[in-house]
Amino acid sequence: MIDLKGIYKWVNTGNNRTFLLRDVNLHIKEGEFVSIMGPSGSGKSTLLNVIGMLDEFNEGEYNFLHESVHKLKEKQRTSLYKQYIGFVFQAYHLIDELTVYENIETPLIYQNVKTSERKAMVADILDRFNIVGKKDLFPTQLSGGQQQLVGIARALIAKPKLLLADEPTGNLNSKQGEEIMNLFKELNNEGVAIIQVTHSEKNASYGSRIVNLLDGMISPLSP
């Protein structure tokens, strides 16, 4: 599904070149549940953003479902991304002006899904996540765990093949975190590939594989 070959990413500061990613080679199959781990500043989030096409890289090849991402134009990349990828953030990043229902609905709007279809899809996912009663509330009226639940629902609404999560439980207490991870496990069992960035060994253990990152390089310890 994902094939990264010799990915480099750097920033220039004065005469120095600082490498964020250095010769990253990674292959991820469909339906895999991968955890990216490593110390702060090791490039975990950068790697996730590159995979999620939110960030660009300077060198290397990236193939996503047989499309060469490095060769695509911005527009094509956006449409590829829209169709296959859902993103979950540590800080939830819900849109404060929109209700729970509308937050979840928005990705469908961007994909020009018809109103009636949208209604059905949002109703389904609200039901599944047990948040039907909260649908008319605004994000600020929810707890952190509930917000993250909405965030995940929003990421899943368009039925992506890949869910990217950047420390999804970082702002949650352990009980809430556990619930989220169980949900991830469940989703993975249904066939959604998941890549998560995490600090927690415990969270990583929900996944099937761990990628260790150090100074922008995949450490040889990774299986």
């Binding site: 989030s45 956006t78 849109i95 002006e97 928005t106 709007i109």
Partner: protein
Amino acid sequence: MVKNYFKIAWRNLRKNRASALINLSGLAIGLAAFLLIVYFVRYELSYDSFLPNADRIYRVTVRQEENNQTGMYSARTYAAVSPVLKSEIPEVENAVRILAEECLLHYKPAYTKFNNQKTYWADADFYKLFGLSFVEKGNLDLLSQPNHAIMSLSAARRFFGNDWSGDKTPIGKTIWLNEGVSFMLQGIYNDLPRNSHLAADFVVSYSTLTSLIGPIMENAMPPSGNFDYNYIRLQEGADLDKVSKSVNQVLLNKIPDAQKQNITYRFDLQPVRSIHLTSSIADELRPNGNRIFVYALAVAALLILVIAWVNFINLSTARAMDRAREVGVRKAIGADQKQLIAQFVTEGFLYSIIAAVISVLLVLSFIRPFQNIIGVHAPLFSLQNIKLWGFFTGVVLLGSLLSSIYPAFVLSSFRPVKVLKGKLYAVSPASGLFRKSLITLQFFTAILLLCGTGAIYYQVNYMKKQPLGMDNEAVLVIHSPRSKIGSPKRIDFFKTFRNEALKDPAVRVVASSGCLPGKEFLNHLEDVRQAGVETGKNISYDLASVDEGYLPVLGAGIVAGRNFSEQRPEETSVLINEKAVTTLGFANAVDAVNKRIKIKGKEEKEIIGVARDVHYRGLQNAVSPLLLTYGHNYEFGFFSVKIDPAGMQGTIERLRQVWNKTYPNDPFDTFFLDSFFNEQYNNELAFGRMFSAFAILGVFIACLGLFGLVSFTASQKQKEIAVRKVLGAGIARIFILITGQYFKYILAAFILAVPFSHWLINYWLKGFSYRFQVNWWMYLLPVALIGLVALIAVSGLSLKAAIANPVKSLRTE
């Protein structure tokens, strides 16, 4: 999707009420000002456009020149002009004469009478040329014969009420004019629109004039007087230059050679639609508009609109900071740039539409006072104004699109990764140069408007305070009794009235005159020279006949010689003013007394005295040379009464009783001379009020923009401010950090605007014969005022940012 965009826009607007309020009020005020000005400018430009084939109708004007000096330049020409042009120039399709006066009209069966009714003695084709539409019609063909007339609907309602059924129809009824010339009504026409240089209550057949006075009313050419307005309509496709040449040729042929020896005549064709704004020559039918003001306001409207909208851009973009995260999130969940642009443009539209609605509400609440100031009462919502609203809608839509596209691009171009990580993007609300020139332009305009306002007020005050050569306070003027025109006994009636009135101790002087300060002279004379000295300039002299009470009523002194006297024969006497002493070429006033002058090469008069110069016209104009002859005016006259300022109400009531005894058939129609005189400054005053209103708006909107930019800077520099404070910077320093850069541009605006205002004001003042001395401190005041207001506008905000606890903003990193 659009519904969704609107929903978000609306929620955003409600969430950020304060900034939305600034943004919307600036735009709404700008739009309202724009709409009001466009309403006014359109009205001024629309004069006479209702006339059928307006582009082919011209008024003939005449200019007399001698030695390259214009002696007379008048809208009135000679009675022969129309018939001659119509018969001798094939391109002239139709031609009509008008002789205009204000008359007393009465309808005897109902005892209704009205004074000062605008009456046109006009050729039969008047109603055709000016496209009158009739409510009631008799036989219009009879208008070519004496004693037939048509009347405007509003006048007809005054005379005949509203019920015109059956026998009550006005058609065929007889209306008596002044002393009793009768006219049979052949038609009632819809009033001419107010945006016309013509205004007539009553149009009577021109041939009546010929039958009353004689063939001179048909074939007058110089040296006869110019009393008729002549309008011609050219054939379609006629070559104006060619026709102009033929007009001059044909008309000059009709002027006797003797008349042409010293003087050249030139006839011009004025397009009828241009009369209101560009003519302003002698003897206009109605006071013309001021095109400098109209154009200045049009430019001001445009500037205010641009400023309001660029403010909108700046404020929207400055708010981008708050929206950055939202943009990031939206991109992360699949929005592409096009969709985001659509969202923000929709938001821009929503704001613009709300602002437009508020602006229309503002306009509706201020339209009455505004109309009173500008003296325009055209309805705001009407078929004629459909273009105005179409234009306004177009401007709103186009403006909202243009002004939202820039912020939309800025906002939608955020890279999601960066904003989601909480890195605040260094967005400038507009590119550097753009922003700088904008703020400079805003304050430039504000200063210009404010300096202009100041200049108008200084000038009007200056004019009002100038000595006028007379004491026009407590002078009550009565329109002379029209029913006695032509009566040989009219002088006896006047004397009866005068002597009765003078029995009242509060009445000091009573006079009768054909002229009045503040009233345009009906008669002018050219070719006036010292007898025996045939050279000398050909200048236009004001001419009127007055009695011995006239100069005393005005408190205008005699410089040399004597006033008229009831006891002497004064048929050949003339009084001149000081200005005429110079123009006639006398050494001084004493020198002029007892000398003789020769008028048009024949008639001689003896100068019996020199009166002090009195301002008859507003101080926009210089004093003209004046000739006063002795006589009880024939018509169009005024009775002036100097009364004791104490107990005026009672005095006027007693005067009314005396009047009603002497003139039972004439209304006691009065006004005060001083306020009548000052009406000449109404135009300037109205524009002064308008300018000051728009100047205040300009300053307000400019400060709003400044406020928005400073709030942007304050939030953008939050971290810098915090770090500086931690390092020990004082509040004053921080304040300068935030506001300093903007005040630099305001200063630049000052430096640019002051010389430009100075140039403009001096240009404008050239139109005044008497003008105030422009001083440098007159510019200092508006500049200081704007500086102060701007400082107040931003200081609260800057101080808040400067005082804020630095820990708070540092913690976010």
